[in-house]
Each structure stands twice: as C-alpha cells, then as structure tokens.
C-alpha cells in the first residue's frame, strides 16, 4: 500500500514536470506582459524613460480624436462586415450540408481555400485589384458600368467597402467550416419531418438550422469580434489606414504610437488596455445575450 502511494506521489511530481514548462511560458509571455501593460498605462515619457503619471494617459485618451476615430472605424467594420460574413457562411454551410450534392468537395475546397492565404498576401492582392488603374476599374469601364475609374482606396467609404469585401472573402469559408461541423450533429430526420410537414427551405433555415446552431453562431461571433477589434495586417497593407485615417484600426494606431512616431509606450499601453477590456466586455455581453431564449 505504501509503495502504491509512493508511486502515485512520484507520478504526480512527474505530471507537474510535464505541464510546468508550457505553463510557465504562458505566464511569462501572456500574463506578465498584460500586467506590465497595465502598469505601463499609468506611466508617461518617451522610449524607456518612464515616470508615473496617474490617470493622465486615460484622460488624454478621452480627448484624442484619432483614437476615437480608430475605434469608430473598427466598430464600423464590426457592425457591417461580421453579420454579412456570418450570414453568408451560414447559408453556404446549409447549402453544402447535403450528401447528394454534386461537386460538394470542389465547392467546399474552393470556398475554404482563401484561408490558406496569409493576411498580408490577400491584402496586397485586393489592393492591386482595386488600384485606381487596377483590374476592377478596367473591367467596370469595359462593361460601361462606370465612365470614370473609381478611386477605391482613395475615398473614405469606398476604401472601407474594399476592406469589408476583402475581409469577407478571407474569412467566410473559415466560419463556414464551423457551421458545417455543427450541421453534421443535427439529425437529418428533423429536416425530413419538417419537409413532410410542408416547411419550405426558407422555414427550415430559420426554424431549424439557426436555432440548432446557436452555440456555434455565438462562438463565431465572439471570434470575429475579437479578430475585428485586433484588425492590423489588412488595413496596414490594403489601405495603410487611409485615406485621412478612414480605415485606421486601433491596433495600427497603437503600432504608430509605439514604433513609428517618437515612442509613447505608456500612452499606447493605455489604448491597448482599452482594447483588452473591450474584448472581454463584448465577449461577456455576447455570451449573456446568446444564452437567453
């Protein structure tokens, strides 16, 4: 008996040995920096010459129009792009969730393929396609849909539209995969019964598919919100935040404050902490709303 206990103790210690290296790294590279960012947000100065300044950074934040603008931009993307993308992904997933569908594998792969493209790469592809003298304008002009080329990237709202189109192109297939997995857990007999009862495809989508997938829709909403609030690679390479900061994201503003202008680490940390709080609060709200029926 004592030998067994001793063996268990030994195994327990070995177990800690297995989990500690990875755990320590998460503490060092995630938890310590977020705590450090919090402390930093109460300091001011240039570069690493920092001194405590209380709530100064947060007060400055409230009067910073560029910060408000970047936050507004991110919310514009969030409110317009995320619902369009998720609805599209849902529709595509329910169309693909049909064992008798021909070319199913081709459709699935084609729609999923944009996920294999890096964020920088697709941003640059879209930037090139929507350039003033670029492919999209050439096609639209040839089809006589427009008389003069549209300066897509050069005007605030068209630039935002291009970002929305690009984001939707890259991420719809990604979300569709989640929904497809979720749909496989729904009994086909439910749809059959609904069909016999005379429910149209439209009814089936809104009365069966959406309610049954609610937890997954919630998950993808949280992920997309999280991703949009952290938007960086796309706006940096597609529009460089322009024109007139109409597509500047908060992450890009933090990057500019820290690494392009004279480094204001304290102030940038205050902004980054706001993002952290927003991600947490929005996830919490979405979970609350998603749980009620």
């Amino acid at each position: 008996m004592e030998r067994v206990l001793k063996l268990r103790r030994r195994q327990n210690i070995i177990g800690w040995g297995f989990v500690l290296p990875a755990s320590l790294m998460i503490f060092i590279f995630y938890f310590y920096p977020i705590a450090r960012a919090f402390v930093l947000s109460f300091q001011t100065g240039v570069g690493v010459n920092l001194k405590y300044a209380g709530l100064f950074n947060y007060q400055r934040l409230l009067a910073d129009n560029l910060f408000k603008k970047s936050l507004g931009n991110v919310f514009i993307f969030l409110i317009i792009q995320v619902p369009i993308m998720l609805l599209l992904a849902l529709v595509l997933a329910s169309l693909l969730n049909d064992k008798n569908l021909r070319f199913r594998g081709f459709f699935r792969t084609a729609i999923f393929l944009p996920c294999a493209t890096s964020l920088v790469s697709y941003a640059i592809i879209f930037r090139s396609m929507f350039a003033l003298d670029g492919f999209v304008n050439a096609v639209l002009t040839n089809l006589s849909l427009i008389s003069r080329p549209i300066n897509w990237i050069g005007q605030p709202w068209t630039a935002r539209i291009v970002v929305v189109i690009a984001l939707t192109w890259r991420w719809t297939g990604y979300n569709m995969i989640f929904y497809l997995a979720g749909l496989q857990n729904i009994e086909p007999s439910i749809y059959e019964a609904a069909f016999i009862d005379g429910a149209s495809g439209f009814d089936q989508f809104f009365r069966i598919t959406i309610p049954m997938l609610k937890p997954i829709i919630l998950l993808t909403t949280i992920m997309s919100t999280n991703g949009t609030l952290q938007l960086f690679d796309e706006t940096m390479n597609l529009t460089n935040g322009g024109p007139a900061n109409a597509t500047l994201s908060v992450s890009q503003y933090i990057y500019r404050l820290s690494f392009q202008y004279s480094p204001r680490f304290g102030y940038a940390a205050a902004i980054s902490f706001v993002i952290f709080a927003l991600v947490a609060v929005l996830a919490f709200i979405q979970m609350r709303v998603g749980d009620t029926r």
């Binding site: 327990n12 989990v19 952290q230 690494f259 952290f276």
Partner: protein, 269 residues
C-alpha cells in the same frame, strides 16, 4: 417545378461563390506571369513574362534570404511548439488532479488577451534581453499556446489508459510512455497542430514587423509588405512575390485540408 428552380439556384449560388473565392488567387498567379501594363488593363491569360518579373523582383528584394528566414523561423516554431505543448497537454490529462485542472483553466484565459495589448511589454522584454532580430525572439512568445495545449489534452482523453498501465507494469518510464506510445498513436493530432502552427508562423506579420529590425532577418510577409512602399508599383514582380509566399501554404492546405478543418473545429470543443 419549384423544387427544380430551387435546386438550380442552389448550384448557381455555390458556383458563383466558388468562382469568387478562387478568382483573386487565380488572378494573382496569372498576374505573376504578366507585365504591369497587361495586369492593369485586365489581362486574364497567362503571359510570358515570368522570368522578367523574377529578375525584377530579385533586383529589388532578397527573396532567397526571406524565404530561408521564413522557413527556418516557421520550422523552429512548429517543432518547439509541438514538443512543449504536446507534453503539457498529455500531462494535464494523464496526471490530472484538482491543481492541474485549475491551472489549465487559468491558462485558457490567455486566449482572451489580444496581441496588441501585450506587444509593447514583449518588445521591451526582448529588447532588454538583446534578442531583437533573432529567431529566438520570433519564436519564443508563441511556443506555448493555450490552444495547442488544449488540443493535445483533448486528444489524450481518447488515448486508452490501459496502455499506460500496461507499460508501467512492464517497467517503462513515464517519459518513455509518452514518446514511445502516445506520440506514434496521435500522429493525426500532431499533423493538425503542425499545420496550424506552421501556417501561423509562416504568415505572421505584426510581431516580426516590430522585432525583426535588421535587413538580414526579413521574412516573406515583411518583404511583400515592403514592395508596396514607393510611388511606382511593379505589379508583375509584386504578384510573383505574393505567389511565392502563398504557394507553399496552398499546397500544404490542399494536401492536408482535413487536418486543417479538424484543427479549426477542435477549438470549439
């Protein structure tokens, strides 16, 4: 009649969406073989200027070095991540007790932390450690992720416990059981984790943008991003650079699509 119409509409929607999904990628590959002028006037056929674009690209950017750096960084990141996270995931499942379960829950909270919120402290850490522009700095912050630990913990759940007991009776050590029994059986989980980690590291942009400051440490995403600076863009050379950086991930994706999808989905279990 109505059903037939619906069916036709269904195929039409799927076909149009598929073509829209493929088009930008096809356009990019085709454009890599055309001149800037052809690309801008909307040419959609493969041209004969691939070699010329290649020469122009090499004159502007050190593609060889960037490719090598990206490959080395992504490989080191993948191997290190797989070793560290799979041992931890296995440990959290096989030796689980109250303490370790609690620790795991804490670790999962790290998934809520946006990278933008921690990049400045991380940059300061690596600056102080004098590790800027090194593979170590590129790799270290993302070696251990709660997501991968979780993935391996879930897969260890399906690893038969009898095998572990039997191996212990045979006198096999705990590490031996992990390497000789668990690792070979869980090959598909490793494949999934490898694809996700490799693609993430190969495509990563913001962290290298901050940390890889020496020209010698440039990676593919940084190289492409640098090509759009300046007034005149050589679209042929630019699309060739994009094609070079995207081709490996597309090949991996097409070959291992199932693993990739499983990896994405496992994040919601």
């Amino acid at each position: 009649m109505k059903r037939k119409l619906f069916k036709g509409l269904k195929y039409l929607v799927l076909l149009v969406t598929s073509l829209l999904s493929l088009f930008p990628l096809l356009w990019m590959f085709v454009s890599a073989t055309n001149t800037s002028v052809d690309i801008l006037t909307g040419r959609l056929l493969p041209g004969s200027h691939l070699a010329e674009n290649f020469r122009n690209l090499l004159a502007k950017a050190d593609v060889g070095r960037a490719l090598w750096n990206s490959l080395r960084n992504a490989s080191v990141a993948t191997i290190a991540s797989l070793v560290v996270c799979s041992i931890a995931g296995y440990g959290f499942e096989v030796y689980h007790d109250k303490g370790k379960d609690f620790l795991m829950r804490i670790l999962l909270l790290s998934m809520m932390i946006p990278f933008a919120a921690i990049m400045i402290p991380l940059f300061m850490m690596f600056g102080r450690a004098d590790l800027l522009s090194t593979t170590t700095a590129f790799v270290l912050p993302t070696v251990s992720t709660a997501f991968l630990i979780f993935l391996f913990r879930q897969s260890a759940r399906y690893f038969p416990k009898d095998i572990i007991e039997a191996a212990r009776i045979e006198g096999m050590g705990e590490l031996g059981i992990f390497f000789k029994m668990y690792v070979p059986i869980m090959r598909s989980t490793y494949a999934t984790a490898a694809i996700i980690t490799f693609m993430g590291a190969w495509n990563s942009y913001l962290w290298p943008l901050i940390i890889m400051q020496e020209p010698e440490s440039i990676t593919m995403p940084l190289l492409i991003s640098n090509l759009i600076a300046g007034y005149v863009t050589d679209y042929g050379a630019l699309m060739l650079a994009v094609a070079i950086s995207v081709l490996p991930t597309i090949v991996i994706f097409l070959a291992l699509q199932q693993n990739f999808a499983e990896g994405i989905i496992s994040s919601m279990k």
